[in-house]
């Protein structure tokens, strides 16, 4: 096997793993959009907020310490204890649920049957709010998130693949980040369980019913409001997982919220309403942009990731407006 070929494989594998992460984020969007027709721009910030909270609780930070210090001239920051990761995660989940409830109670509830664009704007407002809020609550400094996930390249794989290259070629074996692998595994598990949840549980079915029409949902016997809370909670949970993965990888900081932007092309590709679409779309985008960067990037100055996904999705959409799995839109006259 030629080295180039192996490199390509490596790139593809990396792409796939990145793709899984994209899907993970995209999933958050899809869930909310399906259930409430809201394009929740805040999804990314939710991930950031979740990660911040997790770190905060873990390291026993005092919430709002900066603010307090600014006002009372005190100088406090930590309780001085550590919270075990599992408990911390549990607590964070709790926080996200509370968050979901607040969002439903104080925002969505007042915006029912507004045009989509209004709701969209509202979520952008929400994003701004939470960004500021998160920073004030936990501080805006870059934090390292350690939930005991492995990191670094996988030696085993390197050694294993070392000999694959053809004779006389420089090849040091295949490099894959452990974290990425774990992340992909987690993501896959999550995706599968979510799919099962929405397919085989009453609540899940109710959620899908809402997507189709609200009356139907009510007839299932679950109030719209509860459904929305549930959905936003799940989205919050997904955000948390995404936050952990990305946070563990590249630290918890503002840029984390930008993963939302990563997920958008995935949505275009997969459609706003389709879970499988989100997954496949994610993989396509992941592989696509890695390959493009690998093959063409160098020629045009690199850093193509931040737009290639969009252009790819755009091209695709122009030929198939309803996305990968989105149901065909027939214009009723």
């Amino acid at each position: 096997m030629s080295a180039d070929f192996l490199y390509t494989i490596e790139v593809i594998l990396n792409g796939l793993m990145a793709g899984v992460m994209y899907s993970l984020v995209a999933l958050g969007f899809v869930l909310i959009f399906k259930a409430s027709g809201i394009f929740n721009y805040a999804q990314g910030v939710m991930a950031l907020f979740a990660a911040l909270t997790l770190v905060g609780i873990q390291t026993g930070q005092i919430p709002f310490s900066h603010l307090i210090n600014a006002i009372f001239g005190t100088n406090i920051h930590h309780f001085g204890w550590q919270v075990p990761t599992v408990l911390a995660i549990a607590l964070t989940v709790g926080v996200m649920v509370v968050f979901a409830i607040i969002v439903e109670r104080y925002i969505l509830h007042h915006l029912v049957n507004q045009e989509p664009i209004i709701l969209f704007m509202a979520t952008i407002g929400l994003a701004y709010f939470m960004e500021g809020f998160g920073d004030i609550m936990w501080g805006s400094d870059i934090k390292t998130l350690d939930v005991g996930l492995p990191s670094g390249g996988s030696r085993w794989l390197e050694d294993y693949t070392l000999g694959w290259a053809a004779e006389g070629e420089q090849y040091y074996g295949m490099y894959l980040d452990k974290l990425d692998m774990v992340a992909s595994l987690v993501a896959i598990v999550l995706v599968v369980s979510l799919t099962i949840f929405s397919q085989y549980t009453t609540t899940g079915r109710a959620l899908r019913a809402v997507a189709d029409d609200h009356q139907a949902a009510l007839s299932v016997g679950i109030s719209l409001r509860t459904i929305w809370v549930i959905v936003w909670s799940i989205a919050g949970f997904v955000a948390l997982v995404a936050g952990i993965m990305w946070g563990a990888k590249s630290g918890v900081q503002f840029s984390l919220s930008l993963i939302a932007l990563k997920a958008l092309p995935v949505l275009m590709l997969g459609g706003f309403t389709s879970i499988p679409g989100a997954i496949v779309g994610g993989l396509i985008i992941g592989v696509g942009e890695k390959l493009f960067e690998y093959a063409i990037g160098p020629m045009i100055g690199g850093a193509t990731e931040n737009w290639f996904a969009y252009v790819l999705a755009l091209m695709f959409l122009v030929f198939r407006p309803q996305g990968l799995f989105g149901e065909k839109i027939i214009e009723r006259v």
Partner: protein, 358 residues
């Protein structure tokens, strides 16, 4: 309450279809113009000019542009930042390439260039609708920024990757570059803002504008009365981008003086302008101005209160700003989804009916 309409009747269609058919409104409009052109320049401090008035006018122009697209044609776009960047870089290239050319033509040309780019990126709107389109426009945002960042030709191979506006004069007064006089810059922007608002009004009240609104309200019906969706949407993208391009051009040449594409024209810009349009009121020229005023003034106020008044560290104040901006937007959307313009409209109706409640 202030309206006296008896005897204010119209004998011609010109009079009946003028922008301010009611005398009182007309007077108010002229009054505002007079203040803007004659009074403000007399009391305008450099700080006020640079921190408030000039940005306000520039953003107002951008908001006008986006409003044409989102408010009048119903095509949601998040590419504003990218288009402003195009306007800015076009201006930079023109200024450096043709030192002799006067600013007005330069800015108008930049607008036209942006219009062309905008039309190009508008093409997908034929197949794609709603949020798909919104996301698609993000493509232009990222791609353009990346392009302007990666191709050195755009910033004349300057090491910093920055572009900075050389000094230019109008009628012997310096309006760009480090030595520009704020008042002159203000007037310069004001002229553009007023002119473009007038332009927007003309375009939206006529055949073209109606075709836009038709597409927005009911594209099928629009098509059967002869509106070609392609032309309607592309023209909207072009005109909108023309405005936004000019905004970007002024933003760079008159307001910032120097800019680096990734931070000056990032996606936050796109959102900011969208906020202005929504808060101001979709499909309202007046709204575009109010929205811009709101988004410009509030941070200034907050900064003055929190940092200046309460002596907080700036970063904390910045975070608070986010919270408050976000919160206000949500509150606005809940209280009056159709924006400040709608509030104004309602108020006006109430005043006209006064003392009757309805």
């Amino acid at each position: 309450m202030f309206y006296r309409e008896s005897g204010d009747f119209k004998k011609t269609y010109q009079k009946d279809s003028q922008t301010f058919p009611i005398k009182f409104d007309r007077m108010r409009y002229y009054f505002v113009l007079a203040v803007a052109f004659l009074v403000i320049p007399m009391f305008l401090t450099d700080y006020m000019a640079n921190a408030v008035m000039i940005p306000f006018l520039v953003w107002a122009i951008a908001a006008l542009g986006l409003n044409i697209l989102v408010g009048y044609t119903g095509q949601l776009s998040l590419g504003t930042g990218g288009f402003m960047a195009v306007g800015a870089y076009a201006t930079y290239k023109l200024m450096t390439a043709f030192p002799g050319m006067d600013m007005v033509s330069i800015i108008l040309l930049s607008g036209l260039i942006t219009a062309a780019v905008g039309a190009l990126f508008g093409l997908p709107s034929l197949r794609i609708k709603g949020f798909y389109l919104a996301v698609a426009t993000l493509a232009s945002q990222f791609f353009l920024v990346w392009l302007l960042n990666k191709v050195p030709w755009f910033y004349n191979y300057s090491a910093s990757g920055q572009i900075s506006a050389p000094q230019r004069e109008m009628f012997g007064v310096i309006i760009t570059g480090p030595h520009a006089t704020p008042v002159a810059a203000y007037i310069f922007c004001l002229v553009f803002a007023v002119g473009l608002a007038w332009l927007a009004r003309n375009l939206t009240r006529g055949r073209l504008g109606r075709s836009w609104m038709a597409i927005r309200d009911m594209d099928i019906a629009a098509e059967i009365i002869g509106v070609n969706p392609l032309m309607a949407k592309l023209s909207a993208f072009a005109v909108s981008s023309f405005f936004i391009g000019i905004a970007g051009s002024l933003f760079f040449s008159v307001y910032l003086g120097a800019a680096e594409v990734t931070e000056a024209f990032g996606i936050t810009v796109s959102f900011a302008v969208l906020f202005m349009v929504i808060i101001g009121g979709l499909g309202s020229i007046f709204g575009s101005f109010v929205g811009a005023a709101f988004m410009v003034l509030m941070p200034v106020l907050l900064k003055n209160v929190l940092v200046g008044g309460m002596g907080w560290p700036t970063d904390l104040a910045a975070h608070f700003e986010y919270i408050i901006v976000g919160g206000l937007i949500i509150i606005f959307l809940i209280v009056e989804p159709h924006g400040l313009a709608q509030m104004a409209r309602v108020l006006k109706e109430k005043l006209r009916l006064w003392p009757f409640p309805h």
